[in-house]
Amino acid sequence: MTAPRILTCPLLLFLCLPAFAQKAEIPIGVSADFSGASKFLGIELYRGSMAYLDSVNDAGGVNGRNIQLYALDDGYNPAPAITNTIQLVERQKVFLLFDYVGTPTVTRVLPLLKLYKNQNVFLFFPFTGAQPQRDQPYGDFAFNLRASYRQETAGLVDNFVKVGRKRIAVFYQADAYGRSGWEGVRLALAKYNLEIVAEATYRRGSTFSDSLRLQVDHLKSANPDAIISIGTYAPCAAFIRDARDEGWDVPIANVSFVGSAFLLNLLVDDEKNTGKNYTTNLINTEILPSFEDASLPAVREYRDLMDRYKPTAPDGFGAETKAGQKYNYVSFEGFLNAKLLVEILKRAGDPPDRANIRTAVDSIHNFDLGIKVPVSFSTDKNQGMDAVYFNTVENDRLVPIADWQRWRK
């Protein structure tokens, strides 16, 4: 579970050093999962960000400074995430931290940031909807773009209750991330004086080939109306597969962190192998508008830059990974993260100063990223967006849910 990925770090550092020497740059530290059970999330988020940063650097950077990402692998495990963060801050002297992936990792990194509070080390836009980086005592050291899991789960609960599905069960990852989603569901249900009717967990790091029958059976015995699934794509896909294999067609809802594109990929591939139907009655929450909505300027720009720069995974990673969909929510989020980051860097002074970061972020007010939803920060609010979008799968594609009545009970 805590297999350290630090060994690859010196290699990465060597590869990055020459660029550092050439030109004035703004070093940005990244620690994410590039090799573990959720590596597609880390890689795609990185690629999306790189597409935008490459274009900015091509256009001369920020005030003539290149934005350089230093990416280290933590395998979605807390201990390497802490080691990587210390490495990035103290050795690499990064200007800020960016694009971290996962609740268990970020949750454990936050106290470190409080330790560095005199140095003003901030974490920007971690790919997680958990509360610790939104609430005190660590909320001051992180800035979020995406809506929280509480918002995502609350949206799901609200909609399920509306269509009469009040017996909600939770399938979640046995860690801080799972607990975060679980708590979101619990709080949302409490509004209606409801409780979670059943819960089942899986161990972080489980893969698609693992059997999740025990969890399916356990939840099925409670006869829930709907299941909210807080996990990563591989075990969540396995859970859906095992549930459907048992002939259980209860609606299963996943949150944004699952990486809907990858979840769908696994299920569609397995459908081809087994001839079964794994993709009906699936619901996904997203915290961004659809990356396929070409009416949005940001979508057009994202697609354009992805096509133009064809960003790759960090050096040494992603070689063996199957290419995901060309465009997806994760890389779209990475793209928007980078776009907002660049705007903040531009406002952080010339040369950019860490001390100016908070002021720069707070100055973002009704900022248009090109997704028709304004982004705003303030001293009280370290989360730029609150929107939650609901999708379902039709013909192997994610489509926005037009009407929840189809799940009426």
């Binding site: 805590t2 807390p78 609740t103 268990p104 949750t107 454990r108 958990a130 509360q131 610790p132 609430d135 005190q136 005592p137 046995a174 860690d175 801080a176 991330y177 799972g178 607990r179 975060s180 679980w182 708590e183 619990r186 409780e195 059943a198 819960e199 089942a200 967990t201 899986y202 161990r203 999740l212 025990l214 969890q215 356990h218």
Partner: protein, 562 residues
């Protein structure tokens, strides 16, 4: 190595005793360790529970559950911890580490705890959970139960595992030490039991009174007797006893051996004497035979000698008157011839009747005289032969080609016989071995022998021819053969053969089977004398009556005179 039975029993008892001790030690130390570890686990669990309970206050009051979960997850990784969970004041579990779900055992006990029996400090319960085994549940209330409670499950199976491992190690070490000490003890015991075994062996050897071979233990016992301890004394006594016994037994054995030796040598001597006698006997027999042979020879020689001198004397005495007879007979023939001529001259004067009468008388006279002359000559021949037989003076030895000599006399004999009798004919088969070559001999004597033998053979074959008629083809076979140091000449005829009775005396002088007047009976006798006497050879005859006769002459190459 042999171990004394007493020591073996002691060893077995020791092993059993040690096994009991080892088992007891393991039970005690295992139990102690188990108790100690359980206490350690409890205190470890207690520490975790207190820790989470203390920090949990802050988290539960101020923070979200994912932070609490992070805290809980960290402690759940501790060794021996089966699970951690936190329940809120209502008893519902708000953070836990169970996968795939909270066990029913925990859920059903939950209501009991939340039922109001909240006591300050730590409470302990036990669960048997699927997949985790027996678990010790250590719990502590948070803020005296106002904020909920923390539970930590410690896996007791881990303790068992550690205890068994420790017992295993302990047993390994114990038995290892026991094995080593046992081996040392075994070696020591062997050193003690060896002299005892020796003494026992020695006593047994003495009892069996087997002194014939060296007792294998003797030297070891002697070694042992040098020691000053009790065993040494015992060994000394044994040695003394052995010596005394050995003396007695030795004397007895010596006497018995002597007796045995006497009886054995006696037999041997008798055997030896008998053998000697037997050999002497054989010698005597040989000597007797040789003597007999010598005697025969002497008799033969004596016979020959006396005969020789007798015949020589007679011959000499007869020769003179015989000469007169012969001379006057031949003279008388001439006289008779003159008388006839005279009568012829006086034919006219005498009456024819008288003339015829006178002439008749003269021719009768002439005929008589001729007969006298003829028989006188024959008598002369006999006398000459007799003289030859007795003659002591040998001829000269010459190196002669035997084959040539043989062939020459074969022809001579044949033509001689043909001249006498025109009806005579015989087939001659010659079979000479060229390897015979030249040998040393007296040619005139040997030729005489050959002529004799060939004449005899031809005569015999011719006789048979005369008896059996045309169907019979008389054959003479003359062959020579090289025998290395000797040569052999065989003269064979297919004539009437010689009866066995004749064979025995065939070489005696004057013995002949020819009708009176035809043979002198001296031919073979002379031949024998020439071959055996003069040339130191052999002359023998082989025959089957009515079938064949074969005379064999064997001559040494180096003509050593007999």
């Amino acid at each position: 190595m042999r171990m004394s039975k007493i020591f073996r029993k002691v060893m077995v008892a020791q092993i059993i005793l040690f096994a009991v001790i080892a088992a007891a030690t393991s039970v005690i130390s295992g139990w102690d360790l188990h108790r100690y570890l359980t206490a350690q686990f409890t205190s470890k669990g207690t520490a975790i529970v207190r820790n989470i309970a203390d920090s949990g206050v802050d988290i539960l009051v101020n923070r979200d559950l994912s932070t609490l979960q992070s805290e809980v997850d960290q402690f759940a990784e501790t060794d021996g911890v089966a699970y951690v969970y936190v329940a809120d004041a209502n008893g519902s579990i708000i953070s836990h580490t169970f996968v795939p779900a909270i066990p029913q055992e925990i859920l059903s006990n939950q209501s009991h705890i939340s039922g109001g029996t909240i006591i300050p400090g730590i409470s302990i319960a036990y669960y048997a959970l699927p997949g985790l085994g027996r678990v010790q549940d250590i719990s502590s209330p948070i803020l005296q139960g106002k904020a909920g409670s923390v539970h930590v499950g410690m896996r007791l199976q881990v303790i068992n595992g550690i205890v068994w491992h420790a017992i295993g190690e302990q047993q390994t070490v114990l038995w290892g030490i026991f094995t080593i000490t046992s081996l040392l003890a075994l070696a020591f015991v062997n050193r003690i039991s060896q002299p005892l075994n020796l003494l026992s062996d020695h006593a047994q050897a003495l009892a069996s009174q087997d002194f014939s071979k060296d007792m294998p233990v003797h030297s070891d016992i002697t070694e042992l007797a040098r020691k000053t301890d009790e065993l040494g004394g015992l060994a000394k006594s044994f040695l003394l006893m052995e010596r005394t016994l050995k003396d007695y037994v030795g004397q007895l054995q010596y006497s018995a051996a002597e007796l045995e030796k006497y009886s054995q040598t006696l037999e041997l001597k008798v055997d030896e004497r008998t053998q000697q006698l037997r050999e002497r006997n054989l010698d005597l027999e040989n000597t007797l035979r040789q003597l007999k042979e010598a005697q025969n020879q002497i008799v033969m020689q004596e016979k020959m000698a006396s005969l020789g001198s007798l015949t020589a004397g007679i011959a000499h005495e007869i020769k003179n008157p015989l000469n007169f007879v012969n001379n006057f007979a031949s003279l008388s023939v001439e006289l008779a011839d003159e008388l006839r001529q005279e009568i012829d001259k006086q034919k006219e004067r005498v009456a024819p009747e008288s003339i015829d009468y006178m002439q008749g008388i003269v021719s009768d006279l002439e005929q008589n005289v001729r007969k006298i002359n003829q028989h006188g000559n024959r008598a002369d021949n006999i006398v000459k032969g007799m003289l030859l037989l007795s003659r002591g003076k040998p001829g000269e030895m010459h190196l002669t080609d035997l084959n040539t000599l043989v062939d020459e006399y074969v022809n001579l004999a044949y033509h001689g016989l043909r001249a006498q009798d025109t009806s005579f004919n015989i087939t001659i088969v010659r079979n000479y071995d060229p390897a015979v070559g030249k040998i040393s001999l007296v040619p005139q004597d040997i030729s005489r022998v050959l002529l004799n033998l060939i004449n005899n053979a031809c005569y015999s074959a011719h006789e048979k021819k005369l008896e059996s008629g045309e169907g019979f083809a008389p054959t003479l076979t003359v062959s020579s053969r090289n025998l290395g140091e000797k040569v052999e000449v065989r003269v064979r005829d297919n004539g009437k053969g010689i009866p066995q009775s004749v064979c025995e005396k065939i070489f005696n002088p004057f013995f002949t089977t020819k009708p009176a007047g035809k043979g002198t009976g001296l031919g073979l006798s002379i031949s024998f004398d020439i071959v055996v006497g003069q040339h130191n050879g052999e002359l023998r005859v082989e025959s089957q009556e009515g079938e064949f006769a074969e005379f064999i002459v064997v001559l040494p190459r180096t003509g050593i005179r007999g």
